[in-house]
Each structure stands twice: as C-alpha cells, then as structure tokens.
Amino acid sequence: MRRIPAPVALKCVFLKDMSKLLKISIGVFIASFLTQVVVSNNMALKTQELNKVDHEIAQVKSQISEVNQEIYLTSSITGMEERAHSMGFLPMDKPINSVTSPTIARVF
C-alpha cells in the first residue's frame, strides 16, 4: 500500500477543513442575518405595540381624571344645593331629629 507523505496529507485535510469552515461561516452568517431581520422586525412591532399601550394607559388615566373631576363637581355642596333648589327642595326652617329633654315621667 502506497503511503501519502505526511505534509501532503495535512495540506489536503487543511484545505478540506477550510472549505467546510467557509461553508459553515457563510451558513452561520446567513442564519444570523435572517435571525436579526426577524428579531429586529419583531422588536419594532413590539415597540410599536408598547407605544400604543403607553398611549392607551395615558388615555385611560386622562379619562379617570375626567370622571373623578365630574364626580367631585357633581358632589360639590354648591352644586348639590343648586340642584336641590331646582328640584323644589326648600331650606330647613327648624332642626330635625331634635331630642327634647326627657320629663320625669319618661325617666321612670
């Protein structure tokens, strides 16, 4: 059996490996590029969604504030008095729930 001299054998293996490495590198590069495109796209969409959610939160907060404001105005004593007047209520002319001093008879 003819033996290949060692340096020649090493060279062949090296060249073969280099070609393999190049193919792998190109493969990895393409894969990473595609992954980056997909991830970036995904991130961009998520960022948009996040901004949208932020906007919605701001809107809800603003609406809560508006509702609170309306509640406060509706339950303001001045407003209530005006509404009571318009509904025909009259001002109190004497105390209600007055407890008169008990007589001796009542005590016993």
């Binding site: 901004n51 907060k61 504030s65 339950s75 105390p95 007055s98």
Partner: protein, 581 residues
Amino acid sequence: MSALELKKSCDKRFFAFKLGVSILSLIAVARLFSIQILLHSNYSARAYDQYSNYITINAKRGEILAVDGYPLASNQVSYLLYVEPKKIKEKQKLIESVVSIFPSEVAQKELQRIKDLLDLNLYWIALEHNLTPPQKEEIEKMGLEGVGFEEEPVRFYPEGTMLAHVLGYVAEQDDGKKGGYYGIEAAFNGDLEGRPGKVTEERDALGLSTLTGGYSKVKPLDGKSVELTIDRAVQHIIEKKLKEGVEKYDAADGVIIVSNPVDGSILGMAVFPTYDPGNRNLINEVVSERSGRKLSEHVNLAISSLYEPGSVMKPLTLSAAIDLGKATPETIYFDNGPVNYSGYIIDNWDGKHLGQMNLVLLLQKSNNIGAAWVGHLVGVEALSSYFRKFGIGGLSGVSLEGEETGILRDPKEATDVDLATMSFGQGILASPLQVLFAFNTIANGGVLYKPQIASKIIDNHGKFIKVEPKEVGRVIKKETADTMVDMLIKAVDGGESKYFNIKNYKVAGKTGTAQIAVAGGYDPKKTNATFVGFLPESKKFSMIVKLREPQTSPYAAETAVPLWMETAGELAKYYSLPPDK
C-alpha cells in the same frame, strides 16, 4: 547598482516603512488608549447622552380633604401644547387650527400671540398651557406636523371659591417648579408636593424607544393628602351668611370663624371678599371692583388682619380679676362720669353713666369706665400676663401660612391710660382667630387649646398620621370659667344684642365695636364690629363674626350680632341641637 546595494537600499526603505507603520500604530494605540481607557467615562457619557432619553414623571400632588373625605383641592389632567417650528410645513394652517379651539372673544388675541411666538427663531415653543383632554383630542385629529403635547397636572378646586383663603393656591415658583402659596397649600407644601420620578431609556435614530436598550425607572413618590377639620356644610353655611351680611351691612370685608371649643378644631373659616384659587386672575378684577380699593385678596383676614378688638376683651379682663380673687360678679363700682387717666379722658361708648354698677351690668352695658377700673384692680403686669396666656399678643400656631403675631404693649412701658384702654380692648392688636380662641378658653373650662385645622396626613398607601388636639395649658380656674360663662349668658340676654337673640338657645357672648385708628386718633365713623360667642349648653361650636367698616350702622349690636345669631341658628339646625331655653 549592484545587487547587494539594491538589497541594502530596499532594506533601508523597508525599515523606514516598518518604522513609519510602527510609529503610526503606536500613535493609534496611544490614541485608542487615551479614548478607551483614560477618557472612557467622558466618551461613554457623551454616547449615553446621545442615545438615551430622560423623562421626568411628575409626582401627583396630594389632595386636601374636608373632614368627610371630600376633596377640596385635587388634580386634573391638562396638557401643554408645544410646537417645533423647524418641522412645521404649513404655518398658517397650524395657527388657524390652534386658534379654532379658543372661544371667539379671545381668538383674535390668541392669533396674534401665536403668530408672534412662531416668528421667534426657536426649535421648541410652549404654545399653550392647561389644555383640556377634549381640546387636545381636537388638535390631534387635525393631524398637524410639528405639534406635540406634554401632560401637566393642574390644581383643581371642586368647590370653586369655597375656603379659598384657607386652601391657598398653587403657582410657579422662581425655579419654575410649582409650589403652594398661602394657606394649607403653602403650610403643607412639603407633604403635598411629593417627589418626581424619572425614566431613562435608549432610543434609536428615529427617536423611538428600543426594547434591547437599557431602561430604568425611578417611580415618583406622590404627595401625601391632608385631611382638614373643616366641615363642608358648616363652611357653606358661614360663607353664604357672610356674603349676605357683608352686602346687607355694606361692610368693606368680613370674617366668620367657627370652631369646636372643646378640642380647638376649626370647623369653618370664611373670608369675604373671596377669590377662586383655580382661576385667580379672573376673580381679582371682580374683587377689586366690589371693594372699591386694591386689596390683596389672597390674604386670610381671619389670621392676618390684626385689629383692635374692642369690648370683646372685657370678659378677659374680668376673668383675670375673678381668677385672682380681686372681684366677683357682684363687685360694686361707681360710674359717675368720664375718668381722667394721665390727662386722657376715658368715657363710655354711649356717654351714659349709671352710677352704682356690678360686673354683670358692666358686661351688659359694655361699660368702658368699669372695665378700666377692673383693669387697674388687676394691675398691668397681671393683666398682660393673663392676656398672653389667653393667646393675645402672640401666634396661635395654627397650621396656616401667613399668621400675624398679635401686639400687646410691654407692661413695663405701659402708663395708666394704656392699662385703662387695654382693659376694654384698645391699644392692643389681635386677629379674629386669636380672639375666638381666647373665648374658647372660657367655654372650655379655662383650658386653652391650639387651633387645629389639619386632622390627618395620609400617605399613598392609606396610612395616616393623626394630628391630635394640642392643649396649650390652663389659663383660668374652672370655677372662674364657669362664672364667666354665666356672666356672658346674662350679657347676651340683657345686653345690647338682646333684640336679635336666637330663640330657644342660650348664647354666651360679647359684642365689640372698636373705632379704627387713623393718623392722629380714631375715625368715629369707621369701626370694626365683632361678636364672639358660643352655645353654652351644647358647646357644639363657638363662633366669631367680624365686619370691617359696616356702613348701615357702626355698632356691632346692629350688624355683627344679627349676623352671628342668624348664622348660629343655621348651625343649630345643621347640628340638630335640641332647644335649651
């Protein structure tokens, strides 16, 4: 050239080239070392500045609550409209669109203002503050370029002008931050304002936040809320009555304070003319027209307007005499005409002299000569000391911004006429609140309490610190206080105020009509009319009514008294107090 020479020449050039490359490499390495190692922090900070973005999150200002938990001062969301002129494509369209949200009466003025602002060669202009959410939405729908909004919380006072002088207001301070002015807003500013938060995030070239970048958030610490002892219903009643009273008696201004004499809590504090703390500029003009003079309408007259209280001080003089055992209600003195003190004549307000009188009659007739006599019986040192213990001549310590210190003459410098005038409430200065709390001492069995207006400080988690009533100390003996209550009831029943007394309820109180000092003496036509008193059976409330310069009559008995009695009647109805007379 031989081959050897050529080789040498090549070697030299190659050596020079290698040297050059080495030097350049060294320079590059040195520069990189400088940038990456020595100046690392500097460049890193510059880079961070470029791609990071800071957003300040405003802390929510705490609310001011009434005793029933209803917010008297709250916050509403409003927006700042800003423009970036460099991004604007259609300037005229933008101006017209923005102006369209304003009412027609201010539109023209706004048009010019916005035009002027846009003519400035700036990158960023704050165009309009305090836009409401609907106004913001309206502008957003127009799809204008170069326009943006920033949220800015605005103070909101749901009850409008109610309690304005106690609440104070919020406005921009010198450093551009918003802060409280006057009243509770100023006194509790540290608790109310909170601490702003901050968001730091990285942004891409388009200015959008990136998810992969760094993000940190320091949450804002919202301000604490302050619950007051103020009862909205009481406040509403007294404000309504005060407005009616000031207009009916044509007074320059007026004050009503209602407190709980037992623990010193303030239930209501009304000042008229008033203003709207949420819209100060608009109301200022109205107030000025009403009073006919320039008046700092933000000043709380209940604590900041010192005046000579007049005859309402007589009960304090009598308390001192009785407490020292130098007089009793039956002590007799003689009023046989005006009395001369160091060349100054002291006379009664009505010029009448009834001869033999006792101290009950002194209060009923509001006799100046008798009060001066009792004052001399007590002595200047002792009387000053009692007045100070009653809270006259100092600060009451109420938690409101702007309280003025009362003025009491130094007893060492006081002459006999000073003592005489001091005994019936002239020559000394006190605020309506100080006078009311001196009376509370009598109502409360001789113990003075500090005026209390805040009852709780509540944090964001609902935890609260309760502010307990604070006893200042005993001023007079309980027996003296009880005696004084009886005398004050008789003073009301048989005094100048008897024609206006409320039916069904006993009232202990005293009138005070004091002429107002002008250059060189007192103006007989200008008076401060005061009535201070309480319902002795229930002790549910004590109240002072003070009117400045009433025009229909200069006397308290014909102005402050009827107003006090009407208001007390309303309060008795509100508290459903059983009749006691």
